[in-house]
């Protein structure tokens, strides 16, 4: 007989995971969080008024299937025209937007970099490959 309290606890625990993941704008805390949660990092380098970034933000990131794959990463989103954005752009040799940098926080290594917008399907492929590279059990 399942104790009532335990069942309710499990239900609440599961529902808590239904929320959208938050993005980090501070790389240091984002990386720390990723280490703690044992998740790989995806840097999203963007710039204002770049229609290709807008395209990704409006039609790709909010797609349900894409969201599921994106949730496997800690997203650190940086505007390349800010100080912190410029600093990290230099570090990863980012030359344009949108650029996606997949990064292993434990090993402090870049796993892959992709420049340019892409369709939902292609973005899922990209996320899936990055996920596999980072040795997450279920991709």
């Amino acid at each position: 007989m399942i104790p009532m309290k335990k069942l309710i606890f499990v239900l609440v625990f599961l529902l808590g995971f239904a929320g959208a993941s938050e993005w980090f704008s501070d790389p240091i805390s984002g990386i720390e969080y990723a280490k703690k949660e044992q998740k790989p990092v995806m840097f999203y380098f963007h710039s204002e008024h770049c229609p290709y970034c807008l395209q990704m933000e409006t039609f790709v990131f909010t797609d349900e299937k894409v969201s599921k794959y994106m949730d496997k990463f800690v997203v650190i989103s940086l505007n390349v025209d800010t100080q912190v954005g410029r600093l990290w752009s230099k570090r990863f040799n980012v030359f344009g937007t949108p650029t996606f940098v997949f990064y292993d926080p434990k090993k402090d290594t870049v796993m892959s970099i992709a420049f340019g917008s892409r369709s939902k399907e292609d973005f899922i492929k990209l996320l899936f490959m990055a996920c596999e590279r980072s040795h997450i059990k279920k991709c």
């Binding site: 229609p51 807008l54 790709v60 650029t99 420049f115 892409r118 369709s119 939902k120």
Partner: protein, 148 residues
């Protein structure tokens, strides 16, 4: 109903709410356009005929899809036309805009710029005052890219 049965049914209830919408969405996703057309025009897409009388202008290739210029024109007298509707098949919300014309417009003409999420058909549908519909379809390829 005893407590145990109630709990099991509750868990099943929550589980079905999580999984069933996902299954339903797969079958509906293919006809989001049809749903929108049915909702907005009250007719099914299959009842709307393509017509050379509807002239739809849109670029064959559009960069990024943020600003795709579209114009609709027709030589059908404006007195016979009720409205012009624009849909994008593959957008999460296919309906984009519609305009009700009056004889004061002088002719059937409407131009605007729309957002497209990916390569897709753009459709311009004329609703005539006699209750019939005419349509023109054009595929617009949306390119991928980046900013330097």
């Amino acid at each position: 109903m005893d407590r145990r049965r109630f709990l099991v049914l509750s868990v099943l209830g929550v589980a079905s709410l999580t999984f069933v919408p996902g299954l339903m969405r797969t079958s509906l996703a293919a006809s989001k356009l049809e749903e929108d057309i049915q909702k907005r025009l009250g007719v099914s897409l299959s009842q709307i005929k393509e017509s050379a009388d509807v002239k739809l202008q849109a670029p064959t290739i559009a960069e990024s899809g943020a600003n795709v210029p579209v114009s609709v024109e027709s030589d059908i007298p404006v007195e016979k036309v009720d409205s012009i509707w624009i849909f994008v098949d593959n957008n999460p919300s296919p309906w984009i805009t519609d305009v009700k014309l009056t004889p004061m417009n002088g002719k059937v003409y409407f131009a605007t710029r729309i957002k497209m999420g990916q390569t897709s058909n753009v459709r311009a549908i004329l609703k005539l005052k006699d209750g019939s519909y005419l349509m023109a379809t054009k595929e617009v390829k949306v390119t991928v890219g980046g900013c330097g």
